[in-house]
Symmetry: C2
Subunit: 343 residues, 2 copies
């Protein structure tokens, strides 16, 4: 399989791998921040400060990065069309975060009070709606309705994925195929559409746009599995959010599937009761069992397989500027996974 | 001021006035229902039954009626473009209802359990989002992005209006100008955009589209004031929903403004405490005071003034087929108001 790396990124140490991408994208992200700030004037004066609260700059901006990298040209110019598309996907993402935090009754995100905590649930529902609506309004500023069509469909699929996940909470009657379907919808959709839009607006031909689209989908699945792995194996100070919430909230993810599968029947039944909320979660015990039963390696292999599939999508297009950077993103994610590996 | 009436509508008794519009629009509404049912296949299989639950047929379908009437042609043909636009505005409206019912913790709507009651708040937030996203996706199926741009902007304004209303709940520090602004955003926007889309897609020239747009905005304001009046003076069996909720939830509407204005200072302070939730609401007392102090006539005059303004928008275009029917809608609303008038 063809692999190539961007020197700008590969020279970074694993710990600062994401920072490497961001050094490359610094002018793009600065332009995106200016663009997002400029959007405030389009909101009604009464809600501007609330919108501004949500458009903070401390997020990882992964989806905008995918737009910029998929539309990369070697001139390094920051295309206004890519900035607009990056703003669209980031606003959709922010809207989903605002609504997620209501549903999870989350108090803190990115070291600040969540919108629901700051403004109350009613205003937060409506604020998320207004962010969605504005994202789609921005998407209508392109010459054709293609961007708006792609983003609105993607948004619907993200919601469908989250609904399915919600309906399955606390149940162990979820198959690995269900899990794959949920993460393809709730996470991989926006990764996919970000790559699609970047490649399309960057002027690539249909074959390449399709390849970038597939890359984004696989990378999104890989990212979600990594995120689910970090919920058990990560350290809060390096991941930057509260961990251990999946077991506590009854969310069946790949690490838990794998553990369930490897536990003796009696222990399996006890874990199922914890997932169902019928007995208190025992995160320390479950992590110890995961360590003893080799769960990490299984899940890591699943991330690796998705990253390989993502790279395979671009294997036929080794010379393209976006290919170089997107391939490197796979390395970045793998190095992130390796930082979670138990000693 | 020019006034004309559609014979199909004007011959109805006041009580069945809306039914008159619906007899005229029966083929259009049947087509709309078929179209909405056909949309189910576009949603992920896991959420189809939830979407179907929301797309019930018992709603008043006022916004689709505005689309159809504003785009009326004397052939009476049902234009597929108008059906699609009617579906877009109705889906946006349904999405706002799903979210409103979460925020109001409402159990029943149109004699059935609300989505939030049926599926829980988490799924209902996401279901509303999915309905929004699909409405905007449908809007991208027009040849230009104009429909999607108009609807997404309108949706953002509706949300802004509801946010402002939410932030002001329980406060008497709301001016009549604030009230006007809130209802222009939360209600009149979708009425306005429905008329705009109908006239535009019906092929009218820019001057008429603008006139229809203004008509819709004024009719929407009139409708909301009527709705606020009905909350105090209506009978639940004829209005079809729980009444008396505005005082109980601290929402300052025109009937309450007018009452506050006419009460002696001591009573005014007591009512302000009820609105602020610092003492129990006394709906029977407040209604009696409204009757004694002539509140009905003041609010009725405000509805009438908005309907006159709506009609004035179309006064220069008396011969147009949409004009006839839209003018008649004003009569319909006035006759609805008169059914509320105290004996």
């Amino acid at each position: 399989m063809s692999r190539s790396s961007s020197p700008e990124i590969a020279q970074e140490s694993p710990k600062h791998a994401f920072a490497g991408v961001f050094a490359l994208l610094a002018p793009h992200m600065a332009e995106l921040d200016r663009f997002l700030q400029g959007q405030l004037a389009d909101f009604e004066p009464e809600i501007r400060s609330m919108v501004n609260y949500c458009i903070d700059t401390s997020g990882k901006r992964i989806r905008p990065a995918l737009v910029f990298l998929s539309g990369w040209s070697d001139t390094g110019a920051v295309s206004p069309e890519l900035v607009r598309a990056a703003a669209v996907v980031e606003l959709v993402h922010l809207a989903t975060l605002v609504h997620d935090d209501i549903m999870d009754a989350a108090d803190v995100r990115r070291s600040r009070r969540t919108a629901v905590r700051e403004f109350g649930p009613t205003a937060a529902v409506l604020l998320g709606d207004a962010l969605f609506a504005h994202a789609l309004h921005l998407a209508t500023d392109f010459p054709t309705s293609e961007v708006c069509a792609a983003v609105s469909e993607s948004t619907r699929r993200v919601c469908a994925g989250e609904i399915v996940q919600t309906l399955r909470r606390g149940s162990t009657d979820v198959t690995p195929a269900d899990y794959q379907r949920i993460i393809e919808l709730k996470t991989a959709e926006l990764f996919r559409v970000s790559c699609f839009l970047g490649a399309r607006l960057g002027g690539s031909e249909p074959g390449y746009v399709e390849a970038a689209d597939r890359f984004g989908r696989h990378l999104g699945v890989a990212y979600q599995i990594y995120d689910d792995l970090a919920d058990f194996f990560g350290r809060e100070d390096s991941i930057g959010k509260t961990l251990g919430t999946d077991l506590a909230s009854g969310k069946l993810t790949l690490p838990l599937f794998t553990l369930l599968d490897r536990l003796p029947p009696f222990e399996r039944a006890a874990l199922a009761e914890e997932i169902g909320g019928r007995r208190p979660a025992q995160p320390a015990l479950r992590l110890r069992q995961m360590l003893e039963l080799g769960v990490f390696a299984v899940v890591e292999a699943a991330v690796r397989a998705e990253i390989e599939a993502a790279r395979a999508s671009l294997a036929e297009w080794p010379g393209r500027p976006p290919t170089r950077h997107l391939m490197a993103l796979g390395d970045v994610l793998l190095s992130q996974v390796s930082t979670l590996r138990p000693a």
